[in-house]
């Protein structure tokens, strides 16, 4: 008696179908969509979001939620750029080091607050989000850095490509190096979640805190890792973000956290914890990014973007909830 492991969960296959159908519609409407150039652009633009979403996935699996990661990302990205300008160290590794350290530090503050005061994670990170952002504007300032001032190592990172090709139009295009931290983050997240006891502890905590405690998991260690890891990914994303847009306005980014959480939820992660997959999260981000960048191909204004993302979110959550309801009806639970 054993079921075969499915390659795709049901939710993931729905998402994949949505991606394929939507892409086909766009391609039929506007054949220009089907080009490597476009595909690589899409990947580059999705990289930062995906880094954040992987962090969100891990928190959601642990049964928590974090809304402070955009504040952490901009804190890390902006501070490292400022520091590079102030110290004249024009080195990409330095930028990552500073931003990632800030991310881990702020993430671990989240973890400590949540664990010591046993706060609901939403409230705790809502608070720290404002605190982190306020701290940055006070300590580092609020002046934007434009492309002219930006350290050249960051500018170079933003335009570097793994390989290049020439489009029929004469433009050169290529695969952005942003894919490197993204692939790295995916591998690490996968390894931690599925191949380490720490990762199984994260799932266990999200399934049932009481059972995880009784099983002998160190809940403090798990929480500390989860929130620091979100911070680390946010820190890395901060540098990627600064390099992507080539100038940085410290008030940007904050406020976009809900769309990232939405992507993870579309991908099948549950706010109640214990469930979620990496592939689902990737598909969630791809869908959001697809709408973001391709509505122009359909001749629609970007206002349609929110509408579509919202609809997909509602539909995917409603479908799972409805299936759950049918299931509980069969077991004679009428909790609606």
């Amino acid at each position: 008696m054993r079921t075969k492991k499915r390659f795709l969960t049901r939710n993931e296959s729905y998402l994949l179908a949505i991606v394929l159908i939507y892409s086909t519609i766009v391609a039929l409407k506007n054949p220009a969509f089907l080009s490597f150039e476009n595909f690589f652009d899409l990947l580059r633009a999705a990289s930062g979001k995906l880094l954040l979403a992987l962090g969100v996935l891990v928190v959601l699996i642990s049964g928590g939620i974090d809304v402070s990661f955009t504040a952490i990302a901009i804190f890390g990205g902006y501070t490292s750029a400022r520091l590079m300008l102030a110290t004249d160290i024009d080195n990409l590794a330095f930028a990552f080091l500073v931003s990632a350290s800030i991310g881990i530090l702020l993430g671990s503050i989240n973890a400590l607050i949540i664990h010591i005061f046993r706060l609901p994670t939403l409230i705790a990170t809502l608070g720290t989000s404002s605190v982190f952002f306020g701290l940055m504007t006070i300590l580092v300032g609020t002046k934007s850095i434009n492309a002219g001032q930006m350290p050249s190592s960051i500018i170079n990172f933003g335009s570097a490509r793994l390989f290049e090709a020439v489009a029929p139009s004469g433009n050169t295009y290529g695969l952005s190096v942003f894919i490197i931290p993204v692939v790295f983050a995916i591998l690490v997240t996968w390894f931690v979640l599925y191949r380490t006891m720490l990762g199984r502890g994260i799932f266990s905590l999200g399934n049932s805190e009481e059972s995880a405690k009784r099983a002998g998991f160190n809940l403090f260690l798990i929480r500390f890792f989860v929130y620091s890891y979100v911070g680390l990914l946010a820190g890395i994303m901060g540098v990627v973000y600064v390099a992507e847009v080539r100038w940085v306005n410290p008030v940007s980014l904050v406020g976009t956290e809900l769309s990232i959480i939405a992507a993870a939820v579309i991908g099948g992660a549950k706010l109640t914890g214990g469930e979620g997959t990496i592939l689902g999260t990737i598909l969630g981000i791809i869908i959001i990014q697809l709408f973001n960048s391709t509505l122009v191909f359909l001749g629609l204004s970007s206002s349609w973007n929110d509408l579509f993302v919202g609809m997909i979110l509602l539909i995917s959550v409603s479908v799972t909830s409805y299936q759950q309801r049918l299931k509980s009806r069969r077991s004679l639970t009428f909790s609606d």
């Binding site: 008696m1 054993r2 079921t3 492991k5 599925y194 191949r195 380490t196 006891m197 720490l198 990762g199 199984r200 799932f203 266990s204 999200g206 399934n207 049932s208 009481e210 059972s211 995880a212 009784r214 099983a215 002998g216 998991f217 214990g274 469930e275 004679l332 639970t333 009428f334």
Partner: protein
Amino acid sequence: MQEILVAKGLYKSYGGVHALKDFNFVVGSGEIHCLVGENGSGKSTFVKIVVGAISPDQGEIILNGHHYSHISPIQAIHEGVQVIYQDLSLFPHMSVAENIAINRLIAQGKRLVNQREIENIATEQLSKIGVSLDLFIPVEELSTANRQIVAICRALSLDAKILFMDEPTTALTKVEVDHLLSIVMELKQKGLSVVFISHKLNEVFEVADIITILRDGRKVGDFKPQELDYKTLTYYMTGRKVEYPRYKRSLSDNKPLLEVKNLSRKGNFENISFKLYPGDIVGLIGLLGSGRTELALTLFGLNPPDSGEIIVDGTPLKINSPVEARQLGIGLLPEDRQTKGLFLKKSVKDNISVTLLEKITSKLSIINKNFQRSLSHEAVKNMRIVVPDVEAMVQSLSGGNQQKTIFARWAMTNPKIFILDSPTVGVDVGSKAEIYELIQKLASNGIGIILITDEMPELLANCNKALVLRNGKVIAQLSESDLNQADIGDRIQVLISSNGSSNPIVQRENA
């Protein structure tokens, strides 16, 4: 026989109240030792001491010859102590295999996991008890009985030498209980010691090598099952003679409160017909899945029927929701009081007054707090709910008192029809008798009661009529005189579990 666990002179008190007094306890290897006592008698205090969750004020624990005045949870695990808690402590979204293996991996201090290793551990444990389960489906998709098996396998994976089982059969059907008990017997054959804690005394007699009885934190004694019978056992547990009152309907037939005609719902039940008169206690007995709970929910406005008639007070009508049911004077005490009946984190007062909101609110829908309090006080007194204060959280009450709180909630609404789904699950003997008295008092006051139950003594003590259900059909309707026959219990038992081919022993008749 080798001694696995010895407890010597254990004392534990909480704020001056003795939870355990000079408690001595010996478990030999391959022995099934039943621990019985009413709620608050000290059973769980003792379990907590052995697993290292709390330390005793005095006394010592000897496990496999090692002496401990205070044992830590890790030491307890290394000595082979395992507990299967009532809630099973499983991870619902995780696979069967992982649920079985994960505690062992933690105990071994593993940092990395290997899917193959998890599967091997799971397969090995399952084969120990000769059960086959799909390793890869999430535990949430299993029945309660199979979850129980997963929990047992998890304990075995940690090389358990002594297994504590806390009320393991509460949520199981008769067949599942038999299967579980046979697994327990098999583990015993393999040399495992089991400490079995249960309120279901027939199971205790079935499996026990030794029965230890606790009362008010003191040990009454160790007995062989042959030395006890149901009466002496309950006497030792409660310190008084517990006789279940036998209900006799005193009202004479007039107009039925409820009449059900050919009620059917596909996949749940078909052609159910019966009448409920004032003062009737109609028993619904049958296995889980026989349609009994489904029928109760239908009468309460959930689970709508496909066809048939429900006639309340002479008027045929449709009950579309619990709100309508309540307005018609129908109350329901649900099967699972914890998740479906109570607001666990609310006070006794709030739990009682929730059905009385129209009565206790002013025209502006503001609750009259004093009125709410005095009504709750009255209800607590009438129902003899043992509670320090009506503001106490319902969660902190014993099972019996929780159940009485739900009784109080409905009794205050002056219902006409009261549906009770397994009202004494997880309730100790003493409280059981009190609940029976309550049920019978309500019936004598002219309420019609439908009592769903698993337990034959419960049916026989309370019901003046009964319907036996199998696979969604009424296979026998029993009248008062049928229920008074001496061997009726055994005959109903046969009816419930036989597969339908045999001739019904009790002729079907119309009430």
